[in-house]
Each structure stands twice: as C-alpha cells, then as structure tokens.
Symmetry: C2
Subunit: 323 residues, 2 copies
DNA sequence: GCGGTTTCAGCAACCGCTTTCAAAAACATT
DNA sequence: AATGTTTTTGAAAGCGGTTGCTGAAACCGC
C-alpha cells in the first residue's frame, strides 16, 4: 500500500506538500509539483478515499436509490447518471429500497449517511413521513426523479399535460372511444395527474372517460385489454400507462387476431426499450429517461437549478393509425 | 455529527468500550452494553464508515462493474446482487466500464482501488491484458459473470452445451433447416462456444449449419431474419443468440405476415424480460440471471466455491411448435 | 480472607490524508 | 545591504474509529 508518505520520502518533501500537489490546492513550486507527480505515477499511488473522506467529512460518492432495477425505465436513467458521474469523477452507490418498504428505505438512508455520500438521487421512490423526517434530519441534498418528494427538487415530466397531449393525439387521429388502462388512480402523483389530463382532454368532446386501473405492468395491460374487449362496446384506442402495459395490450390483441392499429390503436407511455421490441412498434409518449438522469445528477452535484418540467413528446411508431 | 465519543461521554465510558460494544467484539459487561446501545439509539448514532474503513483497510462495499445497464440481462443480475447484499450488510458501488473501453475500465479499477472495495463483481466485462495485469496487482478478489476472466472464478452457463441443447430441442421437434442468428463467432467466449454447440448438434444429422453473425441485438435479429428469409430456401427455425435478437426475428416475421411458430419457429436465449413481452411468448434457453448474481456475490463475499456451471433450461412458451 | 484467574475498561497509538499555523526561503523594494 | 513581501515548505493536530496492551475489578477455589 503506497501512501503519500512514501511519495514524500522519495521526493524529499513532507506529506503535506504531497497532499497539496495531489489536490492542486496551491502553495508549491513547479519543481516540486513535477517531482511529486512523477513519483506518484511511478509508485502507482492510489489515494485512500476513506482517509480523505474522513477528514473532508464528505465524499464524491452519491447514493442512487431505486426501487429495483428490473423496471423498464430504471436502466436508461442509471445509464444517464453513470455517464455524467464518470465524466465528473463522481461515484455511485446503488441501493434498492423496494416498493413502499419503509424499513428497507430506512436502511438505505442509514447506509447513505454512514457512507457520507454527498447527495442522494432517488428514482421513483415514495417517501413515507418517517423516512422523510429522517432524510431531513440527515441534511443531505436529494433530487427525486419521477416522484415528488416534499421539500426537495424533482425532475419529471408534467404528467397531467402529457396525458392530456396523448389523449388529444388520439382524438386528433379520429379515435373516439378511448380508454386509459393499467393506471393507478390512487397514486397521488403520477396516476392521478394522468387521469386528470386524460379526463380533461375528453371533457371538451363530451366523450365518456373509461379508466381501467392497474399497476403499469405488462400483466395489467393484458388484463385491461381483455376486460375492455369483452365489453359490449370495445374501445377504438387504448392509452396505456406504460409501454409495458401497452405491450400487454398488443399481446392480447395479437392473441385475438386483432390488428393493431387497424382494429385497436395502442398508445404507450415512456418510450422505453420495449417500444421498439413489440410489433407493431409502439407509438408512445416519450420520457427522456437518460436525459432526466443526467439532469438530476447535475442538479444534485452542481446545485444548478432544475427546469420546472422536462420536455416530453410523442414518439410515433406504428401502434396508432388514423380513423 | 454524533460520534462514539459522544456516546462514551454520556455513558461514562471510553470510546474504546463503545467501539467494542458496537462491533460486538466482546470484552464488556452486559450492563455497559445495554447502556451504550441505548444511548447510541437515543442519539441516532451513525457510524462513520470512512473512519472505520480507514483502520480496517477495507470496506463492506463491493464494486459492481457493468458495461451498461441498458442490456436486458443486467437488471435482473443487479437485482439479484442487491438483494443478497442488502441481507448481508454489503454495499454496492456501481460503475460502468463501457464496451471494450480499456481507458474507462482502468478508471473503474482505479476507482475501486481507491474506494477500498472488498471485491469486484464484473458482469460481462472483457478484460484486456493491461487491465488484467492491473487487476492482479490490486490484489482484489473478483468474480466474473458471463465471461471468463483469466485467473478468476466465473459464473456462467455452459454455452456450448446450452447451444447444443437448444439446437437439439429444435431438431427433436422436427425442424431441419435451423439457422443460428445474431451471434458473434469471433467472440472467443460465448459466441464461439455457442457456435460449436450448435454445430455439434447438427453434425450428427448431416444438416448444414447456417450462422448469421450479429451482436445479439434486436436489430441484429431483425436483419438476420430478413436476410434468411430472402434466401432461396428459408429456414424452418431460427435459434437466436439472445431474446432481444429473437424479438427482432419475431418482429420481422410479423411484419411479413409470417406466423410464428407455424411458418417460422424462433428459439430465444436468456429468458429475459422481453421473452414474455413479444407475441408469441418466446420459447428460450433460460439463464437464471438473478440467481447467477446471487451466486456470484456470495462466492465473492463468503469465498465459497462456485459451482462449475450454472444450470440452464429451456423455458417453453409459444415461439416454437412441432413440425 | 488470600493468591490466582478471568472479565472488564481505559490508555494510547494508529489508519492515511488534510489543513492550519509558523518558519524558512525566495524574491522584490528602497 | 537591509528591510519588507510573497512564496514555498514543514510540523503537528485532527478526522472517527479500532485494537493491543495494561491495570483494575470481579470472581474463583481453598
């Protein structure tokens, strides 16, 4: 284990000087700088972050909190975060806090505190009151992605408006009986906002809203489609709460020999990975996940202000046609 | 910031004692233990891992090296790792090293060394000679997932055998003209092994192998299908190198109005997330990713021996029929 | 109640790096 | 050449735990 002492000895200076050179904190001559740097390189010096963090009382590590990785949108966000972090010498401590698992979330928070992370990025994590209080007490900066966390900045699209736009898009294309599927209307954030946007778009037309609740999953989409299709008057288009759900709907359609979009149009949400995978490719409301991740980490680390809302747009593929 | 000193003062003992109690390293009475623990809880004591790691010269953090998260199989592996880690008080430092990006891999290794991680888990990361040497020099234990890293334990399925089994499965079902698609035969590990397995299975039958190279991606699958279908004698079945590629093949089939599996059978590889998403559901050679992740981290942390090979199996859905 | 053993707790050094303060060296000014 | 100013370097304390060593206290059998 080579330490700054070793370098100091070889260079004929004191550890203080080595430290100053290595941190570029000024107060050394060009000559010593060169010598120190050279010897450090020769010796393959590797700074002990623990020691450094100890005196700094912080670290260049940020904690990333996710519910779990196997959600279609987590991966691109993580990629976005990671790339930015790499370019800025920031490290990422990953922790899964599960879905609404207060105990595990607390454990994660403790972990972050113990590791003296310099900030936390939470991806779609809902904070209960206790953990929110704990978080406040820790005094760590946090940026939340996708979900509003009281008292902390959030990066998210405007779900209400996005749902409105999506619904409007279907209307403009001539669809009339439009269902909203696989959404959780009890979810105070995303779910409700999207329901509202959907209803607002329909209101003007006098059409009746039709919401099939669900948990955004493939299964939820599949079940919703099944249920809708067995009704007396099936919808012409289904606005899915996620691309996964949209895939479920398409799957159902395929299994019934229904042509998409001719007999049933499907509009997805997310523009995730799966949108390209299913046939036909999903027309979907895009959330720029990677970019959101970058934005979030940048705001967290640089303390730059966050845009109020992230731009979304409709990514057109082939699951919606004209009617 | 509450430290063991604060606890010590309140409890009327010295920091040493507090430390011993907190670490359960023995040498204290039941009375002091209770008092210390109680006060620690009252004060919301949070151990400073940096300080602890400094003296221990190690940490309960393990580094997880991935190329990037947006690969269909990375997520379940990470989930598997994370769950195990959580249960064992291990933390995860995540780093992306890109695909064959030696500079970035080196940066990751440096990072791991600096953070004094207790071990490294690399997921499908190929080590070049220089970085391999660096790794050896660091002296850190490593377990590799999916790819063989010279001198370190690996958890992976037997690709040769798996490909053999998959091909055999198709043969048994009556398919004769079987192509292997979207595979990289120059990849010394996985790719080659699978090609061999495929060829070995065909050899006995006297059938001619037909390999369409590719990079395991959806696009590669799509292109391969296209190419194969435009040939004079299209195959009856395609064995895809990944589920992503299989999805691409199915996508192509759908776009051409080819029924799967009636007109074209598709066998996937991985049993990833997407196998359930496309229609028809993919029959595929399953790799138990989450389990592999757990196995790997367990081997890394507990230094338990690794099974030579992980069990794979064919997960039947509906993209392969009978002929 | 006494020597001997075991248990419990304190002292102090240390992990590797950073940073303040003071001293020394280099340089500039008259 | 003497003084003042700035730059460069060193000494030392400390970040918050951990741990070997030592002494004190508690417990043991006789």
């Amino acid at each position: 284990m080579v330490t700054i002492k070793d370098i100091a000895k070889q260079a004929g200076v004191t550890p203080s000087t080595v430290s100053r050179v290595l941190n570029q904190s000024g107060g050394y001559s060009d000559k010593t700088r060169q010598k120190v740097l050279q010897i450090a390189a020769e010796l393959h010096y590797q700074k002990n972050e623990a020691a450094s963090n100890l005196v700094a009382q912080t670290s260049n590590v940020i904690g990333v909190l996710i519910t779990n990785a196997t959600t279609s949108f987590a991966a691109p966000i993580i990629d976005g975060i990671e790339d930015w972090a790499y370019q800025h010498g920031i490290r990422i401590l990953l922790a899964h806090c599960g879905l609404n698992d207060a105990a595990r979330l607390k454990a994660c928070l403790d972990l972050m505190a113990g590791q003296k992370v310099s900030g936390i990025l939470s991806i779609s994590v809902q904070f209960d009151a206790t953990n929110l209080a704990l978080l406040k007490q820790l005094g760590l900066p946090l940026v939340s992605l996708g979900v509003k966390v009281d008292g902390y900045p959030t990066v998210a699209i405007d779900d209400e408006k996005a749902a409105y736009t999506g619904t409007k898009y279907l209307l403009n294309r001539g669809y009339r009986r439009i269902a909203l599927a696989a959404i959780d209307p009890t979810d105070p954030q995303t779910g409700q906002a999207r329901c509202h946007g959907y209803q607002r778009a329909l209101q003007k037309t006098g059409l009746a809203p039709l919401i099939i609740p669900g948990d955004y999953s493939f299964q939820a989409g599949y079940q919703a489609a099944k249920q809708l299709w067995q009704a007396a008057l099936p919808p012409e288009a289904i606005f899915a709460a996620s691309d996964d759900a949209a895939a479920g709907i398409v799957f159902y359609a395929q299994s019934q020999g229904l042509a998409v979009p001719e007999q049933l149009a499907v509009l997805g949400f997310d523009n995730s990975y799966v949108a390209d995978l299913v046939y036909p490719g999903l027309t979907t409301v895009e959330q720029p996940f990677a970019q959101m991740g970058q934005l979030a980490i940048e705001a967290l680390v640089m303390k730059t202000p966050l845009p109020d809302q992230v731009a979304y747009q409709i990514k057109e593929r082939h699951s919606v046609g004209w009617r």
